[in-house]
Amino acid sequence: MSAAKRIGKELAECEAAPPQGMKITYNESDLHRWNITLAGPADTVYAGGTFHITMVLPPDYPFKAPIVNFTTRLYHPNVTNDTLGNICLSILKPENWKPASRIKGVLEAVRHLLIEPNPDDPLETRIAEEYKNNRAEYDKNAKQYVDRYAKGDAKK
């Protein structure tokens, strides 16, 4: 019950002042599953794209970290380059998660990851290498992905 209470509060908080570029939708019958659309931050390779994110809050949230995935494919050193879209985000790791962290913080961290990827802690080592050594190639690939997956009526 207290989990539901906290989730409700955080939801209200995020709706009142959503993180920049984000829109949150949810199903009232299951507040543990949020759908988020993120507009690619301007001045990045992801600008112009619309990225769908699902966030699942475990039953014992906030004691366990939420699980955040990109459902839109994107070319990024810290996101698995597949349909799962797992994200490597330090604050979501079990050893780093703390109950005092908040969803809004998580979402802001996700967005920040698009602005400043972290190639030193990669999920996709190949992309990370490319990001570090051949930035032009990385930019080109990333934009290609955006055009292919994150434009218009992008799949959910």
Binding site: M1, S2, K5, E10, P62, N96, K98, P99, A100
Partner: protein, 444 residues
């Protein structure tokens, strides 16, 4: 939905001894927080879960638990100066033994303590809505008092059904209505439900609960039809001057306009004044009746009683009839009358006795004066008597001596010598005199 890791499970799994050690200190110090909530774990499940309360005002960010994001319940503070609900901290610690804020290693027993009293007092003073808000209790009360309210006083608290074999619960308000747990059909949606739930269903849930007003086409809840009828603008009402004779009927919204044109509107103010005067009149009549009653009462008490009974007694004491009648009027009761009579008598007796004493004193003074005079005169007379006696004795002696001298042939002394002779014979005389006096007492 209940989280799978209730604090108890987590405790048993990981850190039993430390929790058990912390808990007594909590229940001791957490006494101020709404009763039982501070104990965390099992006891807080008792009546009111303080975490689920709705707060009337926005709660200060500093009083919010970083874990559950509601106002702290049974606050504990860590050595790194972070404050959490006791239950939240235990739960978080069971998964990861670090501070949930700064992730520094944390020992639950030695490195946490109950939050300062000032924090607990601030939490106690937060205003919350009654948890039975949804069922219609709109009370707002300090958090520390809410449990008492819910368990003892709130009419909307669910309590066991009064019927002994019924297992359901019922709102405390409806306990007197007997068991309401039988199936009824909602007349609007034909759904089946328990009688106890019918009212809330018809007020809030029934899909057909709303109805358009036939007259004004506004939507209202069927159950509240009567309330709507009181304000529906299309309902037929009579003119507001109806008491003065207007017989017209019209819809409520028209009535306003009609009121300004009604033929009876001139009569209205007069009628109002009339009504005012009438009410004044009844008030005055009432007053008058009161006064009449008082007068009658006084007459009965003060006047008729002595007239019938007391006059005999008075005549016994032989007081003048006229004065008693004059005296009697102001007395309220017979007893008082006699009492006053007694008092006047007493004062009279007193006056008499004082007068008597005065007279007595005067008399005795007079007596003393008289007797003194008499006494003086008496002594005077006595002394004259003594002098006379002396004279008589001298004369007697003189005679006796003369007789004796005549007897012995001695010539009688001339009168001029008598003084001398008396002087010379004096030394002998008293003895003889006394002798003779004894033998021949002088006759007065």
């Amino acid at each position: 939905m209940p989280p799978p890791n209730t604090p108890e499970e987590g405790v048993v799994a990981t850190n039993t001894s430390s929790i058990l050690a912390l808990r007594p200190s909590m229940s001791r110090d957490g006494g101020g927080d709404g009763g039982g909530g501070g104990g965390g774990g099992p006891s807080s499940a008792a009546a009111v879960d303080l975490r689920l309360l709705e707060y009337e005002d926005a709660v200060d960010e500093n009083l919010i638990c970083p874990i559950c994001r509601v106002a702290l319940v049974g606050p504990v503070i860590t050595n790194c100066d972070h404050v959490f609900c006791h239950r939240c901290l235990v739960q978080a610690h069971a998964l990861n033994p670090v501070c949930p804020v700064d992730r520094l290693p944390l020992k639950l027993v030695s490195e946490t303590r109950p939050a300062p009293k000032i924090v607990q007092n601030q939490l106690d003073n937060l205003n919350v809505r009654c948890p039975n808000h949804a069922r219609g209790c709109h009370l707002v009360v300090a958090r520390s008092l809410v449990e008492n309210h819910v368990t003892r006083y709130c009419d909307k608290t669910m309590v066991p059904c009064p019927h002994p074999s019924c297992e359901h619960t019922v709102v405390r308000n409806d306990v007197g209505k007997g068991c309401l747990h039988y199936d009824v059909q909602c007349e609007y949606c034909e759904g089946n439900m328990l009688k106890a739930d019918l009212e809330i269903h018809q007020d809030q849930k029934c899909p057909n609960r709303k109805k358009d007003c036939e007259l004004c086409s506004a939507e209202f809840v069927r159950n509240k039809q009567e309330e709507h009828m009181k304000e529906c603008p299309e309902v037929e009402v009579s003119c507001k001057y109806a008491p003065f004779g207007c017989t017209q009927q019209m819809s409520r919204k028209m009535a306003e306009g009609h009121g300004e044109k009604c033929d009876y509107r001139v009569v209205g103010p007069v009628g109002e004044q009339l009504a005012e005067l009438r009410s004044e009149l009844t008030a005055l009549q009432e007053k008058d009746r009161m006064k009449d009653r008082r007068i009658k009462f006084l007459e009965n008490r003060g006047y008729t009683l002595p007239a019938s009974n007391a006059t005999e007694a008075i005549s016994d004491i032989s007081l003048p009839e006229s004065s008693t009648n004059a005296d009697m009027a102001p007395y309220e009761s017979r007893d008082q009358y006699f009492l006053s009579l007694f008092e006047t008598m007493e004062s009279k007796v007193e006056r008499l006795s004082s007068a008597l004493a005065e007279v007595e004193g005067r008399h005795s003074m007079m007596l003393i004066n008289e007797t003194l005079q008499i006494k003086d005169q008496l002594t005077e007379i006595r002394s004259t008597l003594g002098v006379l006696g002396m004279h008589v004795r001298w004369l007697m002696n003189f005679r006796l001596q003369e007789r004796g001298r005549v007897g012995a042939g001695s010539p009688a002394m001339p009168g001029s010598l008598a003084g001398n002779q008396q002087g010379t014979s004096d030394p002998n005389l008293p003895r003889r005199l006394s002798d003779t006096m004894r033998e021949h007492p002088p006759r007065l």
